[in-house]
């Protein structure tokens, strides 16, 4: 009697097929869960109640930390997003700071019109260390990539009024020795070309314990006011058309 060691099975998947986005982080409000499609468990916090508008135009008051799934018109059709004001939504950050594209879709409810208010933040809760920040400038949005004492900054090429629907595409280019950022997208449906690249600075990585956060810079920064329907991060440099709707 002889025996043989057989090669491993060609099909090693176990269990039922599941949705497997190619993004490193993908959150869509239309899924009605703060948890990202890519698995990162969310923390959603808001002290006290918050109001929002439902699909019938009625006003709903949600209690402490409950999501405000607000219906708004998005490019001519009803859509549901998460209303953020005194709310704070964050996820563990488990993807590297390399060449990447960050997509954010939502309606500016005033964040762009207040200088320094955070829209998207990747970094430590303390607001220190290497970090990626999308913030209001007073008239529009800007992105900062902070590595040590150096900052690469780019500014969205259109004034953003309240309540403009905006699609922001932030690209981070990593050459292996340097990193830099730029930002483009649409404002109120009008394409906004990518800005010029920010200054190329010596590359860095996100500190351990970093989080991806919406609506404020760090856990203590000034909170913005926005309606967000999607936040996604993809490896590689994608255009708006390539990143919108892609899982």
């Amino acid at each position: 009697m002889s025996s043989a060691i057989l090669p491993p099975s060609a099909v090693r998947r176990l269990g039922v097929p599941t949705l497997r986005p190619t993004a490193v982080h993908q959150w869509q409000a239309s899924r009605l869960s703060p948890t990202a499609l890519t698995g990162q468990a969310a923390t959603l916090a808001r002290a006290g109640t918050g109001t929002f508008t439902d699909s019938g135009g009625g006003t709903v008051t949600a209690v402490h930390s409950m999501p405000r799934w607000e219906s708004r018109t998005w490019f001519g059709a009803p859509a549901v997003g998460l209303r953020l004001g005194t709310d704070d939504l964050s996820w563990p950050l488990d993807w590297p700071l390399g060449t990447l594209t960050l997509l954010l879709e939502g309606v500016n409810m005033g964040t762009a019109n207040t200088s320094g208010q955070g829209l998207v933040y990747a970094g430590l809760d303390a607001g220190t260390g290497n970090r990626l920040v999308v913030r209001g400038t007073g008239t529009t949005f800007a992105v900062d990539l902070v590595i040590g004492a150096n900052t690469s900054t780019a500014t969205f090429g259109a004034a953003v009024a309240n309540p403009d629907p905006v699609q922001l595409v932030v690209q981070v280019e990593d050459t292996g020795t340097t990193q830099r950022v730029r930002i483009g997208g649409t404002d109120a449906g009008t394409p906004v070309a990518f800005s010029a690249w920010g200054t190329a600075i010596a590359r860095g990585t996100f500190p351990s314990g970093s989080r991806l956060r919406l609506n404020r810079v760090g856990s203590a920064g000034a909170q913005g006011n926005a309606w967000v329907r999607r936040c996604a991060v993809y490896a590689g440099l994608l255009t708006l058309d390539e990143s919108v709707d892609r899982l």
Binding site: L32, L44, A45, S55, A62, W69
Partner: protein, 265 residues
Amino acid sequence: MRLNGRTITDLVYQILVLDGHVAPSLPRTAVVSLAQAGGTFGSVVTVDPRRITVGLDVRPTSLADRQAIMDSLKRRLHRGVLELVTDDLPGRVLPVVCDGVGVELYTGAYANPVVYVQVTFTAPDPSRVDVEPLVYGLTTARTACPIGTDSVAPRLWLYGASTPVVNPVVIVRDHTGTEVMRLTLTGSLGANDALAIDGATQQIDRFASGVLQTGTNSGLGWLTSGRFPLLDPTDANPDAPAWGTIELAATSGTPTGLVAYHRRW
């Protein structure tokens, strides 16, 4: 056509065939044969999975390019569940699994890189689902819930109040006002308390100041009687239109909440 939000037109010259995604899927009721009598309907209702066939005209520039395209197609098709969106209904998705790819060489000539690729998908649930959900506030008054052509198990959030909401109840009525089901819960929801009820998974999560309660404090411990809410087309009259409704009740206090669901078609 999009798969997980991505077109495949960068890989193929044109899509020649897209079949199987339009026909309505109807539930089938089991028939029980009776001896010396006419058969009768049984209690089991099923729906058949939907099978979709896509024919792709692929025109590579070389044999190496053909293999590169096949590799890219395989990467995109073999990712577990895919969300298929067709151009005629961009607002609805159909979760599918790719279960077959056939490649035909035009004229049978291996050296000719142009090929016809037939991809088959199976949608275990043949219903398409709206991309965007509907959300409606709930009170003690009846809230109409427009649905599609298939039943929907909604999610609900029940909110507490400074005057506690004691023993909340979710009541579903048809378009005539006749009660069709209710879910009765036992407990008291204070100012910062909430319940999240998932009708599909039949899960109840309880939150206190945003913190999920577990163990003996979990939401499922509040479940007392009744059925999880289901919005069914037979409870609606879409021609009117008049829809099934959801309302809240409680032993004391003023219950409020939110219902959210994706229509199914």
